[in-house]
Symmetry: C2
Subunit: 414 residues, 2 copies
């Protein structure tokens, strides 16, 4: 379908979606969840074509695993939609309502963003997740999924649209860009006349391409070169625990630790224990000269290593002479995602919280907590690593905007 | 100076500015205000060169007027800085602090954006205004003013930087891009590695060029094709008052009314009175067929007229059969700035507030109130007409972002 028509449809749909009651939205979300489960067989069939093509095209094992749908995974998608139905609807909330000296009453009302575009890779579960969050917040969504998942996405969107129609809600609440060529994607990124917000979800390359090409306002998500800094006053056992959790609890996620920074005063006491624990988890360690002197089994780190988000069983190690050097090193190399200090020093904890530039700054807790559910927001559409509009886990509120509503009785400006 | 160096300087400066105390920031703002007044003669001398060049280059009377600085205008600039000093500092505020079930405490702390770029036209007062708002919020600012005001801007920035140095604050809190070629501006718009937010202030053309070229996140400001809708239940005298105020109290501003929408049921009663009042203020009226039937002195409006922000003594008139048509017409033609309904009907007022898509929606009050001071926020950097991050008048808070701060005692994710 022509991109222009698709965008116009979304604009028509947003006018209707913005007026739906919370009750209606919730019952539709539950109906869509049920429909996904009822149509699981068809969805798995469509998905099998994508998986087969992926294997033919030498897709990596990890990507095939993310692409593949099973009945259990479809049940998880359905559960996700039901969880979104249970969340508080942020639309309509009025904040900061004040009476001005001239008698006008001004309030800030939370309203849907309008039309949201999501560009993502071959993860079909994002299709229903993104629909659910956008629908709950009264937004129309246009999805551009990875071409490797096109058959899965088509089927999932078909099931959602049929359910919407059966519930007398505009099907154009969700639309899929079916064309898989790059030109269409680039053209879509420039539809700022129609689309209010564009969220790329996926690799650093996808996000960079979106930022460079889009005229639609973009929220960057997800790349995470996260550090754990072990201060000289750290509880060593706690530091090991946090490091192992942040690095190895789940490898391929954006809030995983990629780099260890160690205060020189604890290098000899801490590092051998840390290396032993990391080795037990099969983590390759690449460190600077001082670290390698203490633990010769550490490989040599290049400058490039300190800028790398491995998403793998690899970690870099940097030795610093004090907290200032640690903060400077982290601010230079990080991706503004999640950073942690392990310390028992009051001033160090405050300094780290003050001076680290990142969405989430932790004292004595694992970076793995940067997540909508863990923060108590519920399902999230991504982790924003930029500073505009949203920073950190983006829940329902981050998919809304506001408008000022003003009640007067004839006021004019003098 | 090389753009890369200038951006690097700004990044170094932001680390220092983010840590300044409120007291220090306020005293520096007052010192800069005083310095502007003390150096008024030099600033006016530099400005005279710009004004002379402007006249030589056939700059319009209106633009020359905006460009020209007098002692009174410099005093106004100084007063503006002192007003910013008096505003509450938003930096450091922590909101939504909660204790999670696992014992971690999570809060959202308000922090500076970092580095802000402002691109504007030949209005030298913006130079000190933008510095003041960015400085108060702990941001480094890079200014790209109109080439027609380059001598004025250089002198103003020189005075500010000298005062910063005299107060032991990094001069790079404010930097001016002195190159006046378009290539440099376009290159600047793509410095997203260094600059966190770009705000274009000026004509629709400048804003469009910024949106199309920038990789830095942009907030669009200022274009206002604002409507006054006179509903069938309107108090006619109130409607005339609001219309005349919104249209004529100040012509060249973004919150001025550009189009009148009239319910057909009050066309005969209201329109002749409105036309008479507008004519008394020398406003040219361009209307649709039905309006021209009632008032033959109205000129014919083209379709283009309804999309036009005149910023002049011209208004368009559209007749509608009901409020639905009014809302559809406004949502189709407006620039999402400020819209007003004059009504005495409860349902109409709610419907208009609900369904109009704009930053500010008024019932029975002039659109001219869309302004930081009028809303009680104090000085503003512009009126956002987009939905991301900020919508409506942008005060100090809109120049900040947040970071999550997390206090743990060894928590790891299960």
């Amino acid at each position: 379908m022509d991109l222009e028509i698709l965008c116009t449809n979304a604009c028509k749909a947003k006018m209707i979606l913005g007026k739906l009651s919370t009750g209606k939205k919730n019952s539709v979300l539950v109906a869509v969840a049920d429909a996904l489960c009822e149509n699981a067989k068809d969805i798995i069939e469509a998905n099998a074509i994508d998986v087969e093509n992926g294997i033919k095209n030498n897709m990596s094992q990890g990507l095939v695993d993310r692409l593949k749908l099973t009945e259990a995974r479809i049940e998880d998608m359905a559960l996700g939609l039901k969880q979104v139905a249970d969340l508080t609807d942020p639309i309509g909330e009025v904040t900061e309502m004040t009476k001005r000296p001239n008698g006008m009453t001004i309030g800030k009302r939370r309203v849907p963003m309008g039309v949201i575009g999501i560009i993502y890779e071959a993860r079909p579960n994002v299709t229903s997740d993104a629909f659910g969050l956008c629908f709950k917040t009264g937004n129309a969504v246009i999805l551009k999924g990875g071409s490797d998942a096109i058959n899965s996405n088509k089927k999932i969107v078909e099931v959602i649209r049929k359910t919407l129609a059966a519930n007398s809600v505009t099907e154009d609440a969700v639309q899929l860009i079916e064309s898989t060529d790059r030109e269409t994607t680039t053209k879509f990124m420039r539809m700022n006349k129609y689309v209010d917000l564009l969220i790329p979800r996926g690799s650093a390359g996808l996000i960079k391409a979106t930022v460079e090409n889009a005229t639609i306002p973009v929220i960057e998500t997800g790349t995470g070169n996260c550090h754990v800094f072990v201060d000289k006053s750290a509880d060593i056992d706690m530091a090991i625990n946090i490091l192992i959790n942040a690095k190895t609890q789940r490898i391929g996620v954006c809030n995983a630790c990629e780099s260890l920074v160690v205060h020189e005063d604890v290098l000899i006491e801490f590092l051998p224990k840390a290396v032993k624990a990391l080795k037990e988890k099969n983590v390759e360690i690449r460190g600077d000269e001082r670290a390698r002197k203490v633990c010769p089994e550490i490989n040599e780190a290049t400058d490039e290593d300190f800028y790398t988000e491995y998403l793998d069983y690899i970690i870099s190690v940097k030795t610093v002479k004090d907290i200032d050097e640690a903060i400077a090193h982290i601010n230079e190399h990080n991706t503004k995602h999640s950073e942690c200090i392990v310390t028992n020093d009051y001033n160090s904890s405050n300094k780290f919280l003050d001076e680290i530039d990142a969405a989430c700054v932790y004292v004595n807790a694992s970076t793995r907590f940067t997540d909508g559910f863990e923060f108590g927001f519920g399902a999230e559409i991504g982790i924003s690593t930029q500073k505009l509009h949203a920073r950190g886990p983006m829940g329902l509120k981050e998919l809304t905007t506001s408008k000022y509503i003003i009640y007067g009785n004839g006021q004019i400006r003098e």
